[in-house]
Symmetry: C2
Subunit: 307 residues, 2 copies
Amino acid sequence: MTQLPEYLTGNSAAIDEFLDKFDVFLLDCDGVLWSGDHLFEGIVETLELLRSKGKRIVFVTNNSTKSRPDYQKKLTAMGIPSNVEEIFASAYSSAIYISRILKLQAPKNKVFVIGESGIESELRTEGVPFIGGTDPALRRDITPEDFNGLADGSLLDPDVGVVLAGLDFHINYLKLSMGFQYIRRGAKFLATNLDSTLPMNHTFFPGAGSITIPLINMTGQTPVALGKPSQAMMDAIEGKFHLDRARTCMVGDRLNTDIQFGVEGKLGGTLAVLTGVSKKEHWEAKDAVAVPAYYVDKLSDLRGATQ
Amino acid sequence: MTQLPEYLTGNSAAIDEFLDKFDVFLLDCDGVLWSGDHLFEGIVETLELLRSKGKRIVFVTNNSTKSRPDYQKKLTAMGIPSNVEEIFASAYSSAIYISRILKLQAPKNKVFVIGESGIESELRTEGVPFIGGTDPALRRDITPEDFNGLADGSLLDPDVGVVLAGLDFHINYLKLSMGFQYIRRGAKFLATNLDSTLPMNHTFFPGAGSITIPLINMTGQTPVALGKPSQAMMDAIEGKFHLDRARTCMVGDRLNTDIQFGVEGKLGGTLAVLTGVSKKEHWEAKDAVAVPAYYVDKLSDLRGATQ
C-alpha cells in the first residue's frame, strides 16, 4: 500500500525539512499559482522565498497554444516575475522532442501541425520546418476537390514526416482529414498533451486531447504525448536543466497529470495543493491514480518555514 | 465454437433453400451494391429477383448526412429502383428514436444537432424541434464572447434536452464546446452512428464516430448510437416494418457493423459478401467479432437460384 502524504500546512519543522530536500521545484500553474485570472494570495512571496533559498523554479504547463515568450507575458500579467528559461510548456517540449530526439532527416522532416501559433513559434525557434497550424488556407470548409486531392495525394506534402496535434481553436474536417492521411502514409504521430478538457472561465472546453482523439480513433494509433504526465516531457525537462531527479519536487493540483508525472518520473518528491482539481479523498481512494508525498492546503503555506 | 458460414456461390440448391428461409432482406449498400460510384454487375437483376419472389427489401445505411429522399436520389442515380419507404438510414433512425421512444416533453425537447442537413430533414419530418446543424451562425470561429456565453449559459438554449451528433463536414470548436455544455447540463447524448471512418474516393475520411468522440472523451459518457451495429437501430427497424426477425436476413460486407448487427439482433440469418471490407479470414479468425451464417463472393451470385 502506498503511504499517505505528509501534511505540511502549519508545521514549520516539516516545511523546513521538506524544503531542504529539494533543489528544483517543477510548478504546475493553473490551480497552483492561480485559478483563471485570479492569482492566489501569497504566491509571489512564496516564489521569492524559494528563490531566496537558492531553489530553481520551472513553470511546467500543458498549455500548447502559447510559446514560452507568450507564456512569460501571461506570468508577468499575473504579477509573477519569471525568466523565459524557467518556462517549460508542451509546445516547447514537442519542438525539442522533434528537433533533438526524433532528429528527422531532410527532406522528409516537415511537421504537419494541428494547433495554434505557440506550437509554430517553438518549432521555428528549433529550426523545424512545418506546415498547417494557423495557415489561413486550411481554415475553411472541405471541398469536393479536397476529397479528390487527399485521396490521390496531390493535396499532401510528401515531405511531412510528423503530425503534431495540440489544442486548436480552429479545428475542422479538412485538418482532421489531412492529419489522418499523413499518419496513414507513415508520418509519426505526436500530441502536445492529452488533456481531455481545458479549464477556462470556471468551466471546461475541449482540450488538446479532445482535438487529437479523432485521429487516435481513425488510425488506432496512440500518439507520443509531450505534456504531463508523459515521461517524454520529463525526459525533455531533465535534458534541458540537467536536474537531479532525487532533488526535484513536482508541485501540482491534479493527481492524474502533475502528481502522476512526478511519481512516474521517480522524482525525490511530489507536493499536492488543494487549490485546484484534486481533493484529499482522491488520493485516499483505493484506486487513486497517484498519491503525492506531501500536501498543503495552498502553496503559500510553505511560507511557514522557520528559516 | 461458432459454426463457419455456408458458402452459397455456385450452389443452386443451397441458394434456393437460403431464399426460402427469409421474407425480408436488410441490405447494407456500400460494399454490397456498389463501391464508391461503381455499381456492381448484376445488382439490379438480383434485387429484381428478390422482389419477384415477394421478398421485402430494406436498404439499411449508417450514412447520416442524407435524409431518406436524399438517399433515394442516390439509389436512383446508381440505377437502382427503390421506394423511399424501403430506406432506413441512421438520420431517420435517430429521428424516430427521439420522437417515438424518447418522447421528450415540451419545452425541454429541443435537439442540438452536430451534423448535416439529412439529420435536420428527418427531425423536421418527425416534428422534432432542433437547433444547430447547418445553422450558418455556428459555422465560424469561437470568440471570447462565446467562451463567456458558454460559461454563464447565456449562449445556451435552456430547452435543449438532447445532443445528437453525426457526421458533420463543418465540425468546429464552437459546436464541440456547445455540445459538451449541453451534455454537462443534463442533455441526453445520442449519435447517429459510431463509424470511425467514412469510405470515400477509395480511401477513408473522418466518420461520424470521429466527430462524436471528442464529446465522449470530454464527458466520459457513451452515447446511444442509432446506426449499425446498435440494437437501437434494429428495434427501430422492427417497429417500423413489423418484421419477423426469424424470417429476416441481414446482408453486408462488414463483420463489425452489418454481421454483428444481424447476429446480435437474433435475425434468422446473416449473409456476408466479399465485395467490401471483410474477408473470409476475418470470420475464420479466433477473435472474429461476428461470424455470418452464409456467404457469397458477390450479391449477384444469388441469381444462381434454380426457381
